[in-house]
Symmetry: C2
Subunit: 486 residues, 2 copies
């Protein structure tokens, strides 16, 4: 394990002060050109040195004919070159004293045959010069906290707290839009490609030491250094959770992984056991992995597995209750003291078992503040799960009926939404207990978006919300198990 | 089983030519008022007769003091009244000759004690006058094809092909927005509440005969008439699929169902067995139920379980492949003839195993038409699953680089999206094989929305897409099993 983040070979790769870029040009069809454009679009603030055999200016920036000509030794070289010239370029970088590289170019181990030999040659050159590199056959890295994006897709997402170590480049570049919809973002994301020099273990060590990273996520097709992986994970898990998606466990998954990154995947059981022993939480899908990160990175640890469900509709309450039972969460009865507090707040038609089904809400302040407050005060309750509806139109209709113009009613409804979101977020701060919501409305609507913005996870189904609550309890248990052992 | 839809007691309830409305007023806080307003908002075209003891005009429509005063005998009475006067109102409706009612009012069997006796009394009155009714403790019905919505939430969603029989009102009223985002909608949806007169079996028979309904969905907390349910389902399944969500199987689910609708739920195994025997597909969540409806209602039947995956990114391809393996779908190799056809269409970096990973797309026409066309022509391939990215921005960037203005580039990109959607939808028509997509982009974006509009399902994760493809194969098998037996 590294003691300081600067010790990681990845430190200069994702926090470079200067970059030599090999493979960008003024021809907009080329991939390298897109990667280079992404750096500018993200607002990278360090020095950029495009290297091009003939063009003197690349995308408005002075270019150099050779790496040898560069006026300084950059922290990092990025290569998006034809396969046949990568080794030669690596040699030149080595001679220049460059110690870190990202090799996007494909056509190595993953194609078999000659590609395997070529990758060996590449690794040999790197070793000779003491270069550590990501790739080949990767998509690069993104570190929004450093305004760095070397991938070919532009990315202006907000910096976040999710670290990602991925054997797929797509999940680095193609998930930022997805995460943004939940007000989530990457702290740093690595696409390791074939992992010839830097592998998942290196990424794990970096992310473990990274101050911006609250949750580590991993997309895994196969782990080569099993022992080191487990030691590293065990060292990290007491401080931050690790969630991994492993897709090589099925026969079809195994074949697909092999043709993707040349990885030899192992059976599910092996990985299940390995993950369990080192406290890594296994997600069954990418969606679930980020669902888990949402609660793990935002919410306090629960003291146990007792949940209370607050709903104003029976069906959503019953589906949530069913999901709790299936995922090992308990729905204990409420204390008499809590029942007394609720008595004044709920309508006569309400059912104050657990789920607490209000049937309808007498007033918003009770629904968003007093009722959940009373539930969270109950010492036997560890977590709160709430069903939310809150379409703007239902708030606007009565305001219009009360005589407001449509415009005024809309403004009024927006204000009500903001107040409601503040109230809910305030509950987490006040009671230090996890609270999540679920809704079937779209994340583009102001209420779900407002909760997400304030760090309150709100899921598009009860099952996903319950799974994300259950993982909080699971993480506490995994941590306890690890710290107990010698 | 009914032979004609008009024989169903529900026919006049969801296709009424005239409605007596008891419980609407000009006081906008009342629930009945909202329900009445919803009828007007939906554009109901029949006669409306509000009944109110003192107000002469209700929401602009002439009101009557008593049911007896009505100028005709309406097809349907809707009651949103205080519990204590429901029986009296039912008696008056009976005397007037009204034969169908919706009773929204709660406070009957579901609260136990006196409520149980009150519900018996209500049923007795209905029997005396030959009245069939939905409820009590329900939210009403919606039949967009008849411009009918009796629920308190407004609903202007497009008519669709999904029939819903639900023991939860929320799932009738609170899912239209959800379904609209997928260009889906209800044919007719019933909230049966306590099911005192009309139950799930009646709904099933209606929806089985309903010409607008292509898929029947059910939210089930417990089935009372087990034998009739199974007979009805077996008669319907050869013509249209039935998908059911049952939430009473866990201990927590069972308790929640009881306090919601007073239903005695049974163990999971019992329901699993029952559903299997009569060909009903069990969904594990509401989201899954509508996911299934999306493919079942839009796509042709597959001839088997062989899938080909088309992707331009390895990670999404590998997760989809893993999901296929876990859900019993096969990824066979492609025929030599297919490989020959692909050779000219894919870039050199592509992997043409199954998944077919293009790594990038040489041109849109190949990606959206020629490549999937070649894959669907392969006689050994039964279904196609495609990973889509298609953010507008990636199409706009090269257009701007080519010299177009931002405005022109945006228009150009929108046009490309429309063409791509047309091409994909054309594949289903041409090859008569199921085709679904998955993406991590939002459904509000033009490409996913455009596919959905054309009836091509596109899911927000590979797992959901694969499950929805697998259910097509499962439905064929269930149908075959049922029609084989005597």
């Amino acid at each position: 394990m590294i003691k300081k983040i600067e010790q990681s070979p990845l430190y200069k790769i994702v926090n470079p002060k200067s970059i030599a870029f090999l493979g960008a040009s003024n021809s907009f069809a080329a991939m390298g050109t897109s990667c280079f454009a992404s750096l500018a679009e993200r607002g990278y603030e360090g020095e950029l040195y495009p290297v091009h055999p003939s063009q003197e200016i690349v995308q408005g920036i002075k270019a150099y004919k050779n790496v040898a000509d560069l006026p300084c030794t950059p922290d990092l070289a990025v290569m998006v070159l034809p396969t046949r010239i990568v080794c030669k370029a690596m040699e030149e970088c080595g001679k220049k004293g460059i110690k870190h590289a990202i090799i996007v170019t494909a056509g190595f181990k993953e194609i078999g045959g000659d590609g395997v030999a070529l990758e060996k040659e590449l690794v040999g050159i790197a070793l000779k010069y003491g270069i550590r590199f990501i790739g080949p056959n990767c998509i690069g890295v993104t570190n929004p906290h450093h305004k760095l994006n070397t991938t070919f897709l532009s990315d202006n997402s907000e910096p976040g707290f999710i670290g990602l170590a991925s054997q797929s480049g797509s999940f680095v570049t193609q998930m930022t839009n997805y995460l943004s919809r939940m007000s989530l973002g990457f702290s740093t994301a690595f696409s390791i490609g074939n992992g010839a020099s830097i592998d998942l273990v290196d990424c794990l060590q970096y992310l473990g030491a990274c101050p911006h990273t609250k949750v580590i996520t991993m997309y895994v097709e196969g782990i080569d250094r099993g022992r080191e992986f487990m030691e590293t994970a065990r060292a990290i898990v007491p401080d931050k959770p690790i969630v991994a998606l492993y897709v090589g466990g099925s026969e079809t998954g195994k074949k697909a992984c092999f043709s993707h990154t040349g990885t030899m995947a192992g059976p599910d059981m092996l990985y299940d056991g390995m993950f369990r022993q080192c406290g890594v939480i296994r997600a069954t899908s990418l969606v679930e992995m980020f669902d888990f990160a949402w609660t793990l990175g935002n919410l306090p640890e629960p003291k146990g597995r007792n949940v209370v469900i607050q709903t104003h509709s029976g069906g959503p309450g019953a589906t949530a209750a069913d999901a709790c039972g299936r995922m090992g969460l308990e729905l204990p009865p409420l204390s008499n003291k809590t029942l007394d507090k609720l008595a004044d707040l709920v309508p006569g038609t309400a059912s104050i078992n657990n789920p607490v089904d209000l049937t309808f809400s007498k007033n918003p302040k009770d629904f968003f503040q007093k009722i959940p407050g009373a539930l969270l005060e109950d010492p036997n309750i560890h977590m709160l799960l709430t069903y939310y509806l809150m379409p703007l139109q239902t708030m606007q209709r009565p305001l219009v009926q009360m005589g407001l113009s449509v415009d005024e009613a809309q403004k009024g409804a927006y204000k009500m939404v903001e107040h409601a979101c503040d109230a809910v977020a305030g509950l987490v701060d006040k009671y230090k207990k996890p609270l999540v919501g679920f809704t079937f409305r779209g994340m583009e609507e102001p209420f779900p978006a407002g909760l997400a913005k304030r760090g309150v996870p709100i899921y598009p189904s009860p099952e996903r919300a319950v799974a994300a609550l259950a993982v909080l309890a699971r993480y506490s248990e995994l941590k306890a198990a690890i710290t107990k052992k010698p």
